[in-house]
Every structure is written in structure tokens, then in C-alpha cells.
């Protein structure tokens, strides 16, 4: 490129910055003066301005998240819960807490019995509207199902990604994290999601599909054969499982 061409290239960068609203002060003035004298740069300036105006109309600039804030907060909290649960030392503290609780329980029961005996009239029972209770149970069941699906989705997405090959074995892939998380989810599924309950009846088929795939993953080895992973991926594709999980999560929170 000639010297003249190089100098002009510098002006072109400044013209872009000017049209993008990034130039100020003397540099802006100098560039404006150059535009007066250079029809090529003036045309370029007008085209960049038109591009910037077109981008300003892009719907993505004003798009709202397709789900409500509570859903996002739930997702973040579920993820943080999963991270906490995956830390083994936390399990140690939990086990210690349970052990202390079991030891202290008989003492607490005796104390409560003594206090009850000392109290004069028993407190009146709180009246609970049956319908309100059912609504509350329904909301809780749905929230727990959404948390379960969010964690399951993370596992499924990881399965669809390209995993690392196992260093020691040919045609094997590293799936340790997915296997452990699936085992944990399978173990907790019955506690989190009641498949027989009314609240989740319309979601039952997808939840069963998710559970089945997670059970298959849980049965794999940390270092598994690539064709086993491919089989699982095909199964997920055939059932369009990821898409169903995402749609169902939105449906449950809507």
C-alpha cells in the first residue's frame, strides 16, 4: 500500500469512530474537516451512520428475557445449591449435623414434653384453608420440579458437548462429573418430584424420560466407551429431550 493509501486508511478508522459516536475534541474536528474535503470518506461516513441506525432498530437491543425474574433467581439458586452439594466437605458437615441431631433428639423430646405438661391450656390449632393448602403444595411441587429439571438439563447439555477423551483408554471419554451428578439426581428424584401427584401429572412423561436417561448415565463408568455416549445422545435426540425440558420448565413456572 502506498503512503497515501496508508494515510487514508488511518482516516477511515477515524471516520468509523466518528460515525460510531466515539470521537471527541480536536480529533473529531480534524476528522470533520477531512470529510469536507474527501468525498470517499464522506460516503463511507454516511454508510456507517446508516449501519449504526439499522443496528439501533435490532429487536435484540430492547428484548426482554423470555422468562420472569423469579425463574432466573430460582435457576441461579438451584445452581448454587448444586455446587454446594457437590463439595464433599459439605457432606461431612451435613453428616456431623445429622449425627448431633440424632443424639440431641431424645433430650429435646423430653424437654418439650415437660414444658407441655407445665403449660395450662393447649394452644388453639391454626385453622388452615384446605384449598389454600392444596395450592401451596402445588406451587412447591412445581418449583421443586423446575429445580430438578434445571440440574438435569445441565447434565444433558454436558452430554451433548464434546467430552475429553480418556487419557488411558482408546475410544473412551471422560464422563466422571456427569455420572456423579446423575447418580445424585437419581437418588434425590423421589424426594424432589412426586410423579404420581396431581400437580405434575401433565409433566409426567417428560420427567420419566429425564429420569430414565439420568439412570442410564448413572450406570456408566467415569471413563466410558464413546459409542455408549453416542447411543445416549441419539436417544436424547430422538425424544427431543432437551427442548422438552426447556419448554416444560417454562410451562411449570408460567
Amino acid at each position: 500500500m502506498s503512503l497515501r493509501g496508508l494515510l487514508h486508511e488511518r482516516w477511515r478508522t477515524r471516520v468509523t469512530l466518528l460515525a460510531s459516536g466515539c470521537l471527541e475534541g480536536p480529533e473529531r474536528e480534524r476528522t470533520l474537516a477531512h470529510l469536507e474535503a474527501c468525498p470517499t470518506c464522506r460516503r463511507e461516513h454516511d454508510e456507517v451512520r446508516a449501519l449504526v441506525a439499522a443496528v439501533a432498530q435490532d429487536p435484540a437491543r430492547t428484548a426482554e428475557p423470555p422468562v420472569a425474574l423469579p425463574f432466573l433467581v430460582t435457576r441461579v439458586e438451584a445452581h448454587l445449591d448444586a455446587v454446594v452439594r457437590s463439595r464433599p466437605w459439605r457432606w461431612g458437615w451435613l453428616a456431623a449435623g445429622i449425627a448431633i441431631g440424632l443424639l440431641a433428639a431424645p433430650i429435646a423430646v423430653r424437654l418439650v414434653e415437660r414444658q407441655r405438661a407445665a403449660e395450662a391450656p393447649p394452644a388453639p390449632a391454626i385453622a388452615m384453608d384446605e384449598a389454600a393448602l392444596r395450592r401451596l403444595e402445588r406451587v412447591l411441587a412445581r418449583e421443586q420440579a423446575v429445580r430438578y429439571l434445571a440440574e438435569a438439563e445441565n447434565v444433558l447439555v454436558n452430554l451433548k458437548a464434546h467430552p475429553r477423551p480418556c487419557p488411558s483408554e482408546h475410544a473412551h471419554v471422560e464422563l466422571e462429573e456427569e455420572v456423579l451428578r446423575s447418580r445424585e439426581l437419581v437418588a434425590r428424584r423421589a424426594l424432589l418430584v412426586d410423579l404420581e401427584g396431581d400437580a405434575l401429572m401433565p409433566a409426567r412423561d417428560v420427567l420419566v424420560d429425564v429420569d430414565n436417561v439420568l439412570r442410564e448415565v448413572a450406570a456408566l463408568q467415569s471413563c466410558s466407551r464413546r459409542d455408549e455416549l453416542e447411543r445416549l445422545r441419539r436417544e436424547m435426540d430422538e425424544r427431543r429431550l432437551l427442548m422438552k425440558v426447556r419448554l416444560l420448565s417454562r410451562e411449570l413456572l408460567s
Binding site: L17, D58, A60, A63, P65, V67, L72, V76, A161, M243
Partner: protein, 192 residues
């Protein structure tokens, strides 16, 4: 639903609470910043599901790394930096897995990019424009795309972009110029 008591709490105080492990501080912080983070991610990735994942990952990281936030810096740009890095990471992962990824329904995400308040014609125009810009942006190299998005979707100054991406000011200028030049070439006729 949300506690009004947290509305007036400054971002900095919320960050200090997060650093102490108080999860209650997440909600007001997300309430203030989640839309902006979502739009940055959407502009970069052009897929609402991926953008939502970036929002989630951004706030998970904000919680986990709140202790590293310096009280002298603004929270907004700090979150922007996390969001852009998350979007770039996600884009790289998606690129690797694209061949095996199950596609969503055709046109699924584009349908949601339109402005709900606009007329059907405006929505159709917006969708078409959005789709063309999406294709053109996706063709840009990662850094050029990030610079362009931060300038024209987030309206950040060149200095702020340099700080958010950890690159020199000169690199920001040349990246913005190259990105603009390439988009102008690819979107020729959109504004005619």
C-alpha cells in the same frame, strides 16, 4: 413479591453482602442488572436460551467471586465483564458442539426477538432485520463482535470496552473499525 427494603440498597452494599455469603442480596442485584446482562448476551449469541444461560452463569459467578470485587469499581461494568466472558466461552463451546446439538424449532428464537408492542409489519421487519444482523454478527471474529456489541448495544465508551475485555485502546479502535467495515459489507442494502 420482591422485598422493597432492598430497592434502595446501593449495588456496593449488595456486593458486600454477597461476599459474606448472603444469598438474599442476589435478588435485588439481579432485578437491577438481569435485563442488561441478558441483552448483551443475546446480542452476542443471538439465541435467547443461550442468553438465559449466560445470565445464570454471570450471577452464579458474581456470587462466587463477590469477594474479589473491589469497592472502588462500579458493579455494572464488573458484571458486564463477566457476562461478555461467559458469552465468549459459551460461543466457543457451542461452536464445538454445533454438529451434535439438537436444534430448537426453526425460527424459535427469532420469533421472540420482536417488540411485542409493534405492529405485525414492524414485527416482521424487526425479525428480518434481526435475523440479518444476527448472521452478519456471527460471521465476525470473537473479539470484533464483542467490541461491536459493547459499543452499539451497550453504548460503552472505548475506554470501558478496553477495560471490560482486557485489551488495549488501540486494539479496541481497530477492532471496531474492522467489525464495522465487515458488517457494512455484509448488510449492504439493509438501509437502502
Amino acid at each position: 413479591m420482591w422485598s422493597n427494603a432492598a430497592v434502595d440498597v446501593p449495588d456496593g452494599e449488595l456486593m458486600r453482602r454477597l461476599a459474606r455469603g448472603e444469598r438474599d442480596a442476589l435478588r435485588p442485584l439481579m432485578e437491577r442488572h438481569h435485563r442488561r446482562v441478558y441483552r448483551i448476551a443475546l446480542a452476542y449469541l443471538r439465541n435467547p436460551d443461550d442468553a438465559l444461560d449466560v445470565v445464570q452463569e454471570t450471577f452464579v459467578r458474581a456470587f462466587e467471586h463477590a469477594g474479589r470485587w473491589h469497592s472502588g469499581t462500579e458493579v455494572g461494568p464488573w458484571l458486564t465483564r463477566i457476562a461478555v466472558n461467559q458469552a465468549i466461552d459459551r460461543y466457543r463451546r457451542e461452536k464445538r458442539r454445533r454438529e451434535t446439538m439438537e436444534p430448537l424449532e426453526p425460527g424459535d428464537h427469532q420469533e421472540r426477538l420482536g417488540d411485542g408492542a409493534a405492529s405485525p409489519e414492524q414485527q416482521a421487519h424487526g425479525r428480518e432485520l434481526g435475523a440479518r444482523i444476527a448472521r452478519a454478527l456471527k460471521a465476525l471474529p470473537e473479539r470484533q463482535r464483542a467490541v461491536f456489541v459493547l459499543r452499539h448495544y451497550e453504548e460503552r465508551s472505548l475506554e470501558e470496552i478496553a477495560s471490560a475485555l482486557g485489551i488495549r485502546l488501540g486494539t479496541v479502535k481497530s477492532s471496531l473499525h474492522r467489525a464495522t467495515h465487515e458488517l457494512r459489507r455484509r448488510l449492504q442494502g439493509v438501509w437502502a
